[in-house]
């Protein structure tokens, strides 16, 4: 089906804009006096932003009947994983300059880094099973259950952010509120009209527009 085939590429392109801005700022001195810290902070911010957008797709479909958020959800999920990976690589490879002993000490001793690292480990299987083949191999129900871990990852991300901040909690609290609202939205009854309009109804267990990352393959 070629219908709106531009949608996913457009979402990916938009999702990569913050990365392009980072690269531009990095090349022109726009990252300030402590560029490594700025890089870490901004990659972390965009990981959480992408994850929040990913988690918004289900409720947007279930409550507003929009079809397109589900179609870009896998792309958003993989963008989340991409930003998370860059964030981790920047921490380990640049900030800590691959000092494995220091990294291990951080991961073991510092709750804020322990949570961050654990959150990455939660995202990893979601990314690895995000392909069509991944869904088939696991079976849709198990795959879907696994991908509800995206909410755990969001919780971990928010805690990681809150513990990172010294005093000004505005940004992490904003993410916490968004996550709370998205969780609440899942408790609402699904709007009857909410369907992937124009498409044959797919087997969507529970029909509550879950947290699946790769639940966007075109029908047929």
């Amino acid at each position: 089906m070629a219908r709106r085939s531009w949608l996913v590429p457009a979402a990916v392109a938009a999702g990569l804009l913050p990365l392009a801005k980072l690269a531009f700022d990095g090349a022109t001195g726009g990252l300030g006096a402590n560029p490594i810290q700025a890089l870490l902070d901004r990659l972390g911010f965009w990981t959480l932003a992408m994850l929040t957008a990913t988690l918004a797709a289900g409720p947007l479909n279930a409550q507003l009947g929009l079809a397109w958020p589900l179609r870009i959800r896998r792309a958003l999920g993989l963008l989340t994983f991409g930003y998370a990976t860059l964030h981790l690589v920047t921490y380990a490879g640049v900030d800590q300059a691959l000092d494995l002993r220091a990294i291990l000490a951080d991961v073991v001793k510092r709750p804020f880094i322990t949570v961050g690292f654990a959150t990455f480990l939660v995202l990893l299987p979601l990314a690895l099973t995000s392909t069509d083949a991944g869904v088939r191999r696991l079976g849709f129900r198990r795959w879907k259950r696994l991908h509800r871990l995206a909410y755990l990852a969001a919780l971990g991300g928010v805690v990681h952010f809150i513990w990172r901040v010294k005093a000004d909690l505005r940004q992490p609290v904003l993410f916490a509120v968004a996550l709370g609202l998205l969780l609440l939205a899942r408790l609402l009854p699904r709007r009857p009209a909410a369907r992937t309009a124009g498409r044959a109804p797919r087997p969507r267990p529970g029909g509550e527009g879950g947290a699946a990352v790769g639940d966007t393959r075109p029908a047929g």
Partner: protein, 312 residues
């Protein structure tokens, strides 16, 4: 510190006028064009009224000072915004002249004095110090100022003066960050009296030979090079001598993370990150953090017999 009552050129210099002119220019077309340029292209050299410096002391082991643009563009001064770039952006709202400083509490000669008069009491010197932030980054700063010891001696503390308390201006008009209760305002810091009269403890009034910019704590701030940067309270309106140890701002906020002494100590980690290493801004690799920020030979004796792991 000898008392020098003679007035010098600086005292006649209309710094207030000069600063206002700068504020005006900042609003002008030059500022608008500058804002569109990338930061690297904007990075300028030292600016501001020059201060007369009677001697220069390098206490950073010959290391080159961090560039002006770094020292004045990467600041923790939450009263002017919590992002590192905020204080420079918002500094125009702070009006550091005219400015009155109160010297009060357990002293025989309390005073409420204009900051330029206060500055005129002492010869100014340049002191190049390392500055280690509790966030594990550091810079090298060519401060201009005078040792606090001279001021302490001049106001004659009583025998009950065990601590010195430094209080930042409380005025949300000038320091808009104080409109939100991020920390308990006004910002308060404190030193034991023996720390206050240590020759390394500096009242800074300038940077790079120029009058202190707002984002660095104009017109008068504390600099204690062997302690974490947050001890250096900025834009001071009160220096109070008292018997009991004060509750200080960051210590109130998180007593398990920020102690009263706050001596730089690579062996005592912040609960959330290691203090073993630091990144000198501009460097790629982190470097080991030194006990007392490398000033241990001069200050370690102040803490003889104290468990620094408990009293961090």
């Amino acid at each position: 510190m000898p008392f020098r009552p003679d007035l010098r050129d600086r005292d006649a210099t209309p710094e207030a006028l000069w600063l206002r002119r700068r504020d005006f220019l900042r609003l002008g077309a030059a500022g608008a064009v500058g804002a569109m340029l990338p930061a690297a292209a904007r990075a300028g050299g030292p600016e501001g009224a020059a201060l007369p410096v009677t001697r220069k002391v390098d206490l950073a082991g010959g290391e080159k000072p961090s560039p002006w643009d770094v020292v004045t563009g990467y600041n923790n001064f939450y009263e002017l915004g919590t992002d590192k770039e905020d204080p420079r952006r918002n500094a125009a709202s702070l009006r550091p002249r005219p400015w009155t400083v109160r010297i009060e509490g357990e002293v025989k000669k309390p005073a409420s004095v204009d900051v330029d008069t206060l500055i005129s009491w002492f010869p100014l010197e340049e002191r190049i110090y390392r500055m280690r932030c509790v966030e594990a980054w550091s810079i090298v700063v060519p401060w201009v100022g005078f040792p606090l010891a001279g001021l302490v001696k001049r106001v004659e503390p009583t025998s009950r003066a065990k601590f010195v308390v430094f209080t930042t201006l409380l005025d949300p008009e000038q320091l808009p960050g104080e409109r939100r209760p991020i920390l308990s305002w006004p910002y308060v810091e404190g030193l034991r009296i023996d720390e206050a009269v240590h020759p390394l403890t500096l009242m800074a009034v300038g940077l790079y030979g120029r009058v202190l910019p707002g984002q660095n704590g104009a017109p008068l701030r504390l600099v204690v090079p062997w302690k974490y940067g947050f001890k250096g309270a900025k834009s001071l309106v009160s220096i109070r001598f008292q018997e009991r140890q004060p509750r200080t701002t960051w210590n109130l906020m998180a007593p398990n993370e920020y102690g009263f002494l706050a001596n730089v100590n690579p062996a005592v980690d912040h609960p959330r990150w290691s203090q073993a290493k630091e990144r000198r801004l501009g460097d790629f690799f982190k470097r080991p953090t030194l006990p007392f920020n490398g000033y241990g030979d001069q200050v370690a004796s102040l803490y003889a017999g104290i468990d620094l792991a408990k009293n961090f």
